[in-house]
Every structure is written in C-alpha cells, then in structure tokens.
Amino acid sequence: MDIFVQQLFNGIILGSIYALIALGYTMVYGILGLINFAHGEVVMIGAMVTITLLRILVEMNTGLPAAALVALAITTALPLCALLGFTLERVAYRPLRNAPRLSPLITAIGLSIILQNLAMIIWGRNYAPFPPILDTTPWKILGAAITPLQVVIVILAVAIMAGLWLLIGRTRKGRAMRAVAQNPNAARLMGVNVDGIISLTFVLGSSLGCIAGVMVAANYGQAHATMGFMLGLKAFAAAVLGGIGNLAGAMIGGLLLGLIESFGAGYIGDLTGGFLGSQYQDVFAFLVLILVLVFRPSGLMGERVAERA
C-alpha cells in the first residue's frame, strides 16, 4: 500500500511536468502540423539558465528567501526561452512553411542537436547541480513521502494549465489561435495576423517548457545539457497518447504517462520476479507510444468532429 501511494504521488508529479512539456508539442502541431523536436532543448535551456542564475544569486548573499530567489531566476529565464522559441520559428521553420513536411521535421532534429551541443559548450558535460536552497524534508502522507517542493510543482502545473485553458478557450487571442489551427486562410480573412499567432504559439509553448525544465531540475536536484532529449521524446509520446493537436489530450496524456511510468517502474520488479528492475522506467513511454500508434493513432482525445461539405 505504501508503495502504491508513493508511486501514485511520483506519477502525478512526473505527469504534471510531462503535461506542461507535451502542451508545447501539441500547440505547435495543432497550428503548423509540425513536430518541433527542438522543444526538449528549450526545456533544458530553461533549466540550465535558471540554475546558472540561481548560483549567482546564492553567491550574492541577498538574504532573500529561497522561493524568491527561484522566482527571480525563473522570471529571467522565462523570457529567454520565449525568445528562443520565437527565434527558432522565425529563423528555422518559417522559411520552410511551404516546403514538404519532411524538411521542417529534419530541421527540427538538426536544431535539437545544435542546441544540445551549444549547451555543452556553455555549461560543460557534467551535471549542473541545483543549488540546495529548497526545503526537501518530506511530509509523510498515507505512508508515502512528498516534499513541499513537489506539492508546489503539482499546484503550479495545474494552475498554469488552467490559465492556458482559459487563455485559449475564452480570450480573443485564444480564439484566433484555434481559428488559425483550423483554417489559416479563413483566419486571415477575419483580420488575423497568422504569422503573429504562430509566433505567439511558440512563445507560449516555450514558456511552459521553461517552467517544466526548472521543475525537473529542482525535483531531481540537477540538470544536464542532454536532459531535453529524453524529456522531449517522452512528452512527445504523452502528446501522441492524448491525441496530438489536442490541448486536453496533452494534459491527460502527460498525467497518464507519468502514472504509467512510475507504476511501471515501481512494480516491474515484482511482476518479472526481479528479472527486470526500475532502470527500465524509460521503456514504458515508448511502449505506450508504439501501442497508441498501432491501436489508436488519433490518441485518446483525438476524435474529429464530422465536417460536412
């Protein structure tokens, strides 16, 4: 029972982070039909920049509480990541808007490799430790451990997703984003600057990714130049699981994938009589990806409304 509750907590924490990253994939896909494989690297850069800034802030001995320091670091990293997302679209994807679909896909993979290597040049090949300023004394709930940081991660992720949901569902700009995703030319006829909306999509997705990156780094206590690769792939799997292009799908897919992974890792040892251990955790995301692609390629939420002529 203790293990069950513990894995449930772990799954929710992991899942809410995956969901934030998956939203970045799904928003861009929804509007451009493009899998932005460089998105994982934006997540990584968000984490790395925040850690760098935090170290500087800690050395300055400002006397500010830890939470304020983290908030300060994020508010600097966030616009940087947003700018990075904006620039990637502007420089790498926009010129290929009318090219065959394979071209932007290959470009995305190329960008991902470039950014990873750039990060290694800037931050080195070693793990960057997250300054140990946050309280990591766990609370015991139903026999399972959860740290205050983890509670904050889940609450923040849920709040951000709720905010995004309202932005896209209720505001004029959000409506324009949905309109552009469905019919860019008709949106133009309504006076929507389609390029502007696409930029906005990248800025939003990258901002969510940045925060997710900081969450990962804070939760595991470290970050690395290559962390975005696996995180990105898993979040992509989550987006596909939920139905790529679908906002609610990305949220649910992310949460589900987190749960599948953590329960999988927690019980795989018992199920295989100790033959396979929790180091196989990463297998589950891709197992899910393959199963979804085989049995329900449109994903859980990917149902299309019938479109009559």
């Binding site: 409506r175 324009a176 469905q182 030319n185 133009r188 006076g191 019938a306 009559r308 002529a309």
Partner: protein
C-alpha cells in the same frame, strides 16, 4: 469616389495564367455580379482582391486607397470582406465563436454586440444553434455562418464567392434574399456566381468572364436579354 477600382489585374499559378488583366469597378452601394463558366478566373480574382493570392500585375484601389501592398489580414480593417468559395468556416469553433472571429479586429464592443443581434435576427437558425460546433451544421447553415461572420467585420465592400454552391434551391433563394437585404443596407457587393440567371436578376451591373478575361459588361437587365449571354450561360 468608386468603392472598388480594379485595373489590369493579373493572377497566375506558376505557368498558368488564371486572370489575364481584368479591369472593373464597383460603386458605393452597388451590387455587381461577376459571372462566367467554371475555371474562368472568377475565384482567383476574388482571392487576389482579398489578398490571399498575389497579383502578378495590376492595381486594386478601395475607396481611392491602393491595396497593392496591404497584406490580407489588414484588408479587413480597410472595409473589405470575402466570403470564400466553400465557406471556409471554422468547423471546430461554435457558431457564436465563428461570428466573434468576424469582429476580431474591432474594439467597439457595444456596437459589435448590437450587430451580433442583427445577424441573429437575419439568421434565426444561427441563434438557435449558437453554441453548436459550426462543422455540425448543414451546408445552408454554414453559408449563413460564413455570411454572418463576414458582416461582423463591418464591411463596406462584401465579396461573395459562389454563395449558392451545393445548396438546395429553396436555400439558394433564402441566401440570395439575404444578399439582397445586405445590399439594401448600403453595403457594396461583388457577387461571383455560376448561377447567371439569379446573379443577373439580383445585380445592377455585371461582368462576364471567360478564360481569365472580361468579355462583356453592362447593365444586368440588358445582359439578361443579350443573345450571347443567353446562349452561353442561360442554357438557350
């Protein structure tokens, strides 16, 4: 001043010259028809006027202002709206959201609210279905959404591309009655239609397009009696 003056407009897709130098005009409050066979270049002309297709050469002026360098999304703000062929509705937005998209560039909220009421008065069906996804509507209802949405941009010139396409005769009558109402309210209309009979009955003046060129023009009443028009487009 004329509402719309088009001078020697040409449009091509690669090597195919869809529109080969057409000139025409629409006066304020006028309903002008552009008729012709399938592939004559009517839709290309309208799409170019709306900025969706680049002009190869020529000049487009709306109320004396050149639109040549104005991108598609800013032409709405100049008072021109296109109801595109095939309607182009946002199928996974609700009817209300589709109409709200028409007012995307407008900040006069209270006026917009009034006009939304007017659109719903014009199309009571849409009022009943305001919260339904537009993709689930019938073809006629979707055409109402498309026209209503264009009206929400508060156009001075409305470009209509084949509003009767794919609709049952009863619905065609209803849509054309609506077009007449809109015209009476003072909005200038350029109507592209394959149904030449209806278009000529409704309009004051008309242009006939063939192979990317305008071959005939004049009063609609006169064109209705013209032997060439009757033979080519009215099935005599």
């Amino acid at each position: 001043m004329s509402m719309l003056v088009v001078n020697d407009l040409a449009v091509s897709y690669g090597n195919i010259n869809a529109v080969q130098g057409v000139s025409f005009r629409v006066e304020p409050g006028e309903l002008v028809a552009l008729i012709g066979a399938n592939g004559a270049g009517k839709s290309s002309t309208l799409n170019c006027l709306a900025g969706l297709l680049p002009a190869k050469r020529g000049d487009v002026q709306l109320q004396g202002q050149s639109l040549n360098r104005v991108p598609a999304h800013d032409r709405v703000a100049h008072g021109m709206a296109l109801v595109p062929e095939g309607r182009g509705i946002f199928s996974r937005l609700t009817v209300l959201e589709n109409l709200q998209m028409g007012a995307y560039r407008r900040d006069d909220k209270s006026v917009v609210r009034q006009e939304l009421t007017q659109v719903f008065e014009m199309f009571p069906r849409l009022q009943e279905r305001r919260d339904q996804l537009a993709g689930t509507l019938s073809g006629g209802e979707q055409q109402m959404v498309a026209i209503g949405r264009a009206l929400m941009t508060k156009p001075q010139l409305l470009l209509l591309d084949e509003p009767s396409m794919g609709l049952a005769p009863l619905l065609v009558e209803q849509i054309f009655a609506t077009v007449a109402t809109v015209a009476k309210s003072g909005v200038a209309i350029l109507l592209v239609e394959q149904n030449a009979q209806l278009a000529l009955q409704l309009s004051q003046r008309a242009y006939v397009m063939e192979n990317g060129r305008i071959t005939l023009e004049g009063d609609s009443a006169g064109l209705l009696q013209d032997v060439r028009v009757r033979q080519a487009y009215l099935g005599e």
